[in-house]
Symmetry: C2
Subunit: 226 residues, 2 copies
């Protein structure tokens, strides 16, 4: 058997994506699965962060991954090598996932026995932020080489995210990246955003992120039904 399957997801036929997203969120809550939508620019290190996060999460939290891309199976292959259940979603040119596309992935992955599912969205700071996927938590990565001014230029994604991971802090000495400014700009967009500076390469900061994500996953299970 192949280590992962590739699914061509089709754009939603539902007119009201928000309603559909709420329905998916309720379904997943009922089965006790915490869905996280991970967004970022291309090349900010989503997949590398996931491989480190998977190793750092407590083993009792059963986790699955959905990799979304316009084309290629590079990322699902990387995740499959860690032994984690993973599926590759191809959007066929689409720049984002909506709730129904996410549901197609959830069905194909098989999530009934999973506590945590992380959806790696298409690399894009604009469009994914506009579509509720049905996730219980939105998380984004901003990497040091991208610069600290991104919350000024791409406001929505910072508004809709519960947490911002600042990746590639190992290369801080080689870039003009101001950690204080990025926090200030991000909080202008979302005063409650949680910030996790990490290096997916060296592993620095990943433990704190994994700890927080495990807490969120457990908290979701204990919450009243939606």
């Amino acid at each position: 058997m192949d280590p992962y399957r590739v699914i061509e997801v089709k754009q939603s036929v539902f007119a009201d994506n928000n309603k559909d997203a709420d329905a998916l969120r309720r379904e997943l809550k009922a089965q006790g699965t915490f869905l996280v939508n991970l967004m970022s620019s291309p090349g900010s290190g989503k997949t590398t962060t996931l491989t480190k996060l998977l190793a750092a999460l407590p083993p009792e939290i059963k986790t699955g991954i959905m990799e979304a891309d316009i084309d290629s199976d590079v990322d699902a292959g990387t995740i499959a090598a860690t032994g984690t259940r993973v599926i590759q979603l191809h959007t066929g040119g689409m720049c984002h996932l909506d709730a129904d596309m996410t549901r197609q992935g959830v069905r194909q992955l098989g999530t009934e026995d999973l506590d945590l599912v992380i959806l790696e969205n298409v690399g894009n700071l604009v469009c994914p932020a506009e579509f509720d996927t049905g996730a219980a938590l939105n998380m984004m990565i901003l990497s040091v080489p991208e610069g600290h001014d991104k919350p000024l230029k791409y406001p929505l994604i910072f508004q809709v995210c519960d947490a911002m991971i600042i990746n590639k802090i190992d290369v801080l000495p080689y870039f003009d990246f101001d950690m204080e400014k990025v926090e200030q700009y991000a909080r202008m967009r979302n005063p409650n955003i949680r910030i996790f500076p990490i290096s997916a390469k060296t592993g620095e900061g990943v433990q704190a992120l994994a700890h927080w994500l495990a807490e969120q996953t457990r908290g979701w299970k204990e919450k009243e039904p939606l």
Copy 2:
């Protein structure tokens, strides 16, 4: 007077963007203005590359810049500081520019006396590649920290670009970026793509890029009418 104006561009009412793009291209050809559409991910260094390029272009090539962003005037401010004619376009949430939005910018910038106009598109590897802006040349930046696998994941932008700038080569020692592989993958998408490795930070490679762009600008003027 302010060093630059900010224009809220509205989405096109034209059903056929390709036809509209051809019309804009003909208009600009008739007045001898070479329009370049510069695309990339957020944070790959489009604006920094432009500031270096502006200094390296032959002074007889009169150049103007159109900065497109969802929000903020950060980039127009940076370009205005170089003394170049510049305008900031706000897309109001839109992830790309179409031909009519580009025309609105061209009109407001005033391009009759310009030989070269560079449009810095919204930072996004997906959507801008789908819309012909009316430019005579498409150019993209891929920066070293983004990784060499991007042509596998975002095929269209590599297909539609005449040239790929590989920026931030000064940080090659700190990233696992394979220059041979990126060239191989990019040529899988577009065998004729021109490749310019540069560091906008140190200036390395910018002269070769400026030389080529000046040649393209002159060649456009000498071409038969479209």
